[in-house]
Structures are given as structure tokens and as C-alpha cells.
Symmetry: C2
Subunit: 415 residues, 2 copies
């Protein structure tokens, strides 16, 4: 038995990222068989029809014209003040809640979700997330001795399963008196689901009902990483205004990311935005996150903040940027519609898609299916409960043909 | 009494960064009295004689000529493989230890120090650092329920206090059986001290002596954030080769940062580099850090990694970059020498300076002194045990005159 040096709490299995391995195999297949013969749906980033990562011109022109010093300098620990203003506008749009609000810069949405989960849970607590989830929620939680409870995102009718959410929510709050729930909406990863405004009302009603016990502390983390690709206009931001006038013991944290909306995945910029009716609670949030920033990564990527600030301050740049996002969003929607339509035609069961980068196919033996699909030169990520098809990374043409191939392979496995 | 929502462990005082406040006051003074009449020694970054942040041309030309996709794409969670190679070369130079070595990308040196402290300590443990220290060591530790013990960096003769290091080291290892010690050398922040090769031998002898008990786990974190501005040639990297053939229960982690050497403070890139005679131990380190990366910030800034990779792969670019660093280092050395020389002339007591961005002036009532100095239009950061003068941020001319002003003010307070 070999010696170990790391502390018990920081010892983890020697696991590499599964998605990265599959992406590497997709690349091999492309090199061997040609791009036109391969469907690579591994990547969680926007790719054009020729397989190139989409990088918004407005964003990169701005980045590359920044004075060097605006890239080189340290940002403030909490983030540049102008950024913390601009990011609220970028996030809420016309639907800023009527509440006390404070933002803190974080590396991407991850840092923000981390602050929400870790700073608002006690070790040993369980957080509540959907059973279709982005796996880092588990990584973050287990890193800090926090467990994860899932509710069923959909009921038998493929509707948002508010009943199961309520049951799990109340079980946990009864036991813990404190509950962090992370809702990844709109444009859920991996399902593409977005809570409707009515579903948000139901969620908030459950929270308010449980907030009547003043001992209960309810924290709702809204991971809206994909919000810029949700809806047609800004209707998918409307729910933000529901966070006005909540009881003091319901605290909302928005995990905002520049990764997708600004196509700056690799620049690591986002924000944690705290919303409360009580000023003390957002102040407490601000200083808690600032301490955690300093203790983990010190400060954020200055250049990314500068890009957002400069685009936000110039109405023409804002417009050009918004147009570019809109164009990309339209492209994405066409792909998703093609996939959904084709699935219906061939009888492939998919989860209800509303917005965003991914569509999910419920399937018990997902690992096997993912492996079998590679034989058809199709690369799709296996999740616990199904397959995740990344319409963000696949052309409309291929989105039309993919469902038939998937259906064929699943049928082959099932027989 | 107002309601609190944050978890107990994440509640912190409402404190803003003191250095930032002082820097803002310095800027005000410059606007009011003119740059030539103000000495702003607050910033921990290289500034030219005209007060402009130094941004290496070789670095920023490379950054701005990167294809957009090389900036936009996610980096791998552990860092790009080419980066993890290049960063070892950048760090060790000709003195790579003969050992098993693995690197993981982190946001600046902070992320790397964080991994060293947090992943290798148990909650309630105490780490060991010098009494002249970079304050985030405390922030990181307290964030995770870890305490800090200090040893006296200097003895009465202003030599490295190996006796006190030994005493505190052995006290802690006896109690905890596990000890993380962070040594910020060469070019210590805030003193400018660098351990000599002989002093490193003494440190390692103490570690080896205590490693004879196989139950002891000794972790040495070397924070070498300022290494590129240490020494004249590469003599300040020589100590790295001493990390060859250590006992399995001495694990060394190098906290490497691109912030200073590449003048990319705001780009947040660095690495944690683990060194062991035992392959399993560096593997364990790698997966522990990868998990912590994913759970805190997900992945690092891709563009910064790409810049290092591209400069490292092209010998001409490497040479141009090294020449630029050398020029900057010479400028810095001249400033420091001017400050040290002038201190001697006016009889201002300073700590032994060898390398780097800062010189420290031991003084009990540092806060008062810092405040009094602002009246002379000089802005110097107050530490617990003295003042930190940032030669990195002040022209040679002003480095010559500053000690007399400081001496005058300290004398005024003392009488």
C-alpha cells in the first residue's frame, strides 16, 4: 500500500473528464473520415456549420483593442465597480427586481455557483437540484462535504415536476432549517428546459410557504449561464422581476456567466448577484463572497470585465453586440427545431426542449448508447439518465439527420 | 438584531481592501499636486518612471495576435498539456528537480497556494509561515478553518531565523503529524528577502530529520511569485534542484505565477507544481488539484496559457521575452539599490533586501506612520510589523529620496 500525502477530505478518484475523452475521439474520426461524415456533439460551445468555434466579432474586436494596461492590471477583489453595474444590466435587462442587489465578480458561472452552494450550506447539508443536472454541482458539493438531493425535473407527462420539487424541498428544510436549491434555468443544461413564469410562481410559492417559519433559511441559486440563448426577445428574463419583495429569509443568488453570451468561455468571467429585500443580507453576501474570492482565486479576469464595460457604455457597440448574439441565437434555434422536428418524425423520445445549447434523450443505458453511436461516427455525451445532444455544436443539416441515427442505434440495443 | 442568511463558516467582517483605499488616496494626491510631487508606493506591480503599468511587449503582441478561438475556447480543467510542460521550464529553468513532477493550472499563484494549504491541511490544523507574510495566506487559511502559526523570519542579527523556524516546525508536526509550511522565496513579499542555498539546506535538513518518523507528513509550499525578478542570472533558481530524492513523506508544491514574470496580473494564470520521489504522490496531487479546480473555478484562462506556450515554442520569441524581463529586472534592481543605499545614508533601519518588488521597514506603529507619510504625499502600505515600500512602483529618483522622508516622519512620531 502506497503512502498518501493529501488530506483525507481532498483525496479523489483518479478520473479524467469523460467529455474531453469523447471529444478527442470525435476529432480522430473527423481526421480519418472527414468532417462531413462525423457528427460531433460533445462540445458545450457554439460552433458554426464548418466546425469552427463561434467568437463574436464585437467582443474580440473590443478585447484586442484594449490598452495593454487594461488587460495587465489586477481587477479589484470584488470586481471592477463598472463591471458590477454592467453585469446587472446584462443579466436582468428590463426585469431588474425591486430589491437590494449586490454583485461580485467570479470566474465564469462556476465560481458563482460555488459561492452559492458553499457559503450558504453547512458541511453535511444537502442541496437540492434536478435529476437532470450539470455534473459540477456534485463536484462542488462533494469537495466541501455537502451532499446532493435530486428532485425529478419532469413528471410522467413531461411537465415540470413541481410536486416532487415540493416534497424534496420540504423534507430537506424540515431537517436542515437551511436549504440551497440550484435551478439551472432558462435553457437548462442538459435538457434545454426553461421554467415558465407560472412554474416560477409555483416554486416561489413553495419557498414563501416555508419561509413562514422564521427559522428557515431558503437560498435559491439561479444558474442562468445560457440565458442569452433563451427565448426570442427578452421574455425569458421576465421571471427576474418576481424576486422583488420576497421575505427576508428567502435569498436569491443569480449565477451569471460571460462564457456563452460573450463567447468568452476561456476568459473565465461571471458574477454572483445577490437579491434580497433586506440590505444587510446583500451586504453580508458581498463580504462573504469577497472573502471567498480572495481565498480561492484572488480576483477575476480584468480584460473580460473591461470588454463588458466598454460594450455596455457605448450604445452603438451594445447594439452591434446584441445583433450578433441575436443572429447566433436564431441559428441555434433553427438547429434545435430541426432536431426536435426530426425526433418527432422518427419517433425518438426527447425531453421537452425550450431553449439553449442541448437536447436530452432519456435512455437508461446511456453509456452503451454513446459507445454504440461512435460506430456511426456520432459522438454524444452519456449522462446518468440519458444522452445529451449538443445542438450548439452541430449544423442544422446534421441536426435533421441525427435523430434517425440515434433512434436506429437505440432500437438496435433494445432488441 | 438583523437576520443572517450566510452559513456561519462563511460570515466575515465587512472589510474592504486597505491597500486599495490607500491607492485611491495616492491617485487623488497625484491629481491635485502632480505626479512629480507624490510617491505612490502602494501598488504591487511594476510601474515605469512615468507611472504607467509595465506591460511586456513580447507578451502583449503575442496575446493580441492569438486567433480568437485560442482565447475563446475552454482550457482543460487541469490546464492545457503544452502549458503544463512549458510552465515547468519557465519555473525551474536549468534546475528541474530529479523527481516525479506534475503540474496543474491555477488562477495566478493564489489558486496554487490555496490548493497547497487547503488540500493538504485538515480543518483545525495550523500552517507555518513567516511573521512577515503576504496577508492572503491568512485569508485562505481562515476561509477553511485552518489557523496560522508564524515563525520569526529574522533573528536579532537580521539573519534568517532557522532556530525559530525549527522550533515552530517541530512543535506543530509533533502535535499534528501533518504540516504545511509556506515559504515565500525568492524575493519575499513584503521584505525582499531570498533564502540562500545554504539556508535552504538547513530548512530541508529540519524537514528530513522530522521525516524520519514515517507518520509525519511534511508539505513545503514554495510561493515563488516573484522569481523572475530575483537574482542577476538564474542563480535564484538553483535551490529547486535540492528537491531531488527527498523522502516520500516530504512533498513539495511550487506555487508558480504568470502575474509578475509575464506582467499578466489581471489574466489570472499560474500553476501548482507537485514534486515527489514517489509517483503515486504526484498522481494523487494531480487529481486532488483537478477536483478542486473543477469545484472552484472550473478551468483556467486559456489565452494566458496560449501566450506562454507560443513564446516557449519559438526560440526567438523566448529570447526576446527573456531580454525584456531582464531589462525590467535591471531597472528594478537599480531602484532597490538606490533605496537601500539611501536608507543606509540616513540611518533608516530596513530588513535585509535581496530581490524583488518590495523593501520592508520594521516599525511598531506602522498604521500611524503610513498615515503621517500621506501628509508628505508619500503612500506606503502599513503591515502588522512595519511598512512595505514598493520599489516596483517608484522611480529610481524617488527611491533615492524616499528613505530620508520616511526617516524624518518616523523620528517625528517617536519624539
Amino acid at each position: 500500500m502506497s503512502i498518501s500525502m493529501v488530506a483525507e477530505h481532498a483525496r479523489w478518484p483518479k478520473e479524467n473528464d469523460a467529455i474531453f475523452g469523447l471529444a478527442a475521439r470525435a476529432k480522430e474520426a473527423i481526421d480519418k473520415y472527414g468532417r462531413e461524415n462525423v457528427i460531433d456533439s460533445t462540445l458545450g460551445a457554439l460552433v458554426d456549420d464548418e466546425g469552427n468555434l463561434i467568437c463574436l466579432e464585437t467582443v474580440y474586436n473590443e478585447l484586442k483593442s484594449l490598452p495593454n494596461a487594461a488587460i495587465a492590471a489586477y481587477a479589484q477583489v470584488a470586481g471592477q465597480p463598472d463591471y458590477l453595474e454592467a453585469v446587472q444590466q446584462a443579466c436582468f435587462g428590463r426585469y431588474k427586481p425591486d430589491a437590494h442587489i449586490r454583485a461580485v465578480a467570479t470566474p465564469g458561472g462556476t465560481g458563482s455557483v460555488r459561492h452559492g452552494i458553499v457559503n450558504y450550506s453547512n458541511p453535511g447539508d444537502s442541496i437540492l437540484i434536478a435529476d437532470w443536472f450539470w455534473s459540477p454541482y456534485v463536484t462542488i458539493s462533494e469537495e466541501y462535504g455537502i451532499t446532493v438531493t435530486t428532485f425529478e425535473l419532469f413528471n410522467d407527462k413531461n411537465q415540470f415536476n413541481i410536486a416532487d420539487f415540493k416534497e424534496k424541498f420540504e423534507d430537506l428544510i424540515k431537517k436542515q432549517k437551511r436549504l440551497v436549491t440550484v435551478l439551472n434555468t432558462p435553457a437548462n443544461n442538459p435538457t434545454g428546459y426553461s421554467l415558465s413564469d407560472e412554474e416560477w410562481d409555483e416554486v416561489l410559492n413553495i419557498a414563501k410557504e416555508n419561509a413562514k417559519d422564521p427559522e428557515n433559511k431558503i437560498i435559491i441559486v439561479v444558474d442562468c449561464a445560457y440565458i442569452d440563448y433563451a427565448g426570442v426577445g427578452d421574455e425569458r428574463r421576465k421571471f427576474f422581476s418576481k424576486f422583488s419583495n420576497l421575505p427576508d429569509n428567502i435569498f436569491v443568488i443569480i449565477a451569471y456567466s460571460m462564457s456563452k453570451g460573450y463567447t468568452m468561455y476561456g476568459m473565465r468571467s461571471g458574477a454572483a448577484i445577490g437579491i434580497s429585500s433586506n440590505e444587510d443580507i446583500v451586504e453580508e453576501f458581498y463580504y462573504s463572497c469577497m472573502h471567498a474570492n480572495r481565498a480561492n482565486w484572488s480576483n477575476g479576469t480584468r480584460a473580460a470585465m473591461e470588454v463588458m464595460i466598454r460594450i455596455a457604455k457605448d450604445p452603438e457597440k451594445t447594439k452591434a453586440y446584441e445583433n450578433e448574439v441575436k443572429e447566433t441565437k436564431t441559428m441555434l434555434r433553427k438547429r434545435a427545431e430541426a432536431f426536435v422536428e426530426a425526433s418527432k418524425e422518427v419517433g425518438l423520445e426527447i425531453l421537452p426542449y425550450r431553449d439553449g445549447f442541448f437536447v436530452s434523450i432519456p435512455y437508461e443505458n446511456a453509456k452503451k448508447a454513446s459507445e454504440e453511436l461512435t460506430k456511426e461516427n456520432m459522438f454524444v455525451v452519456a449522462l446518468k439518465k440519458g444522452l445529451r445532444f449538443a445542438v450548439c455544436a452541430v449544423s442544422e443539416e446534421k441536426c435533421k439527420t441525427a435523430p434517425a441515427i440515434i433512434k436506429k442505434v437505440l432500437d438496435r440495443i433494445d432488441t
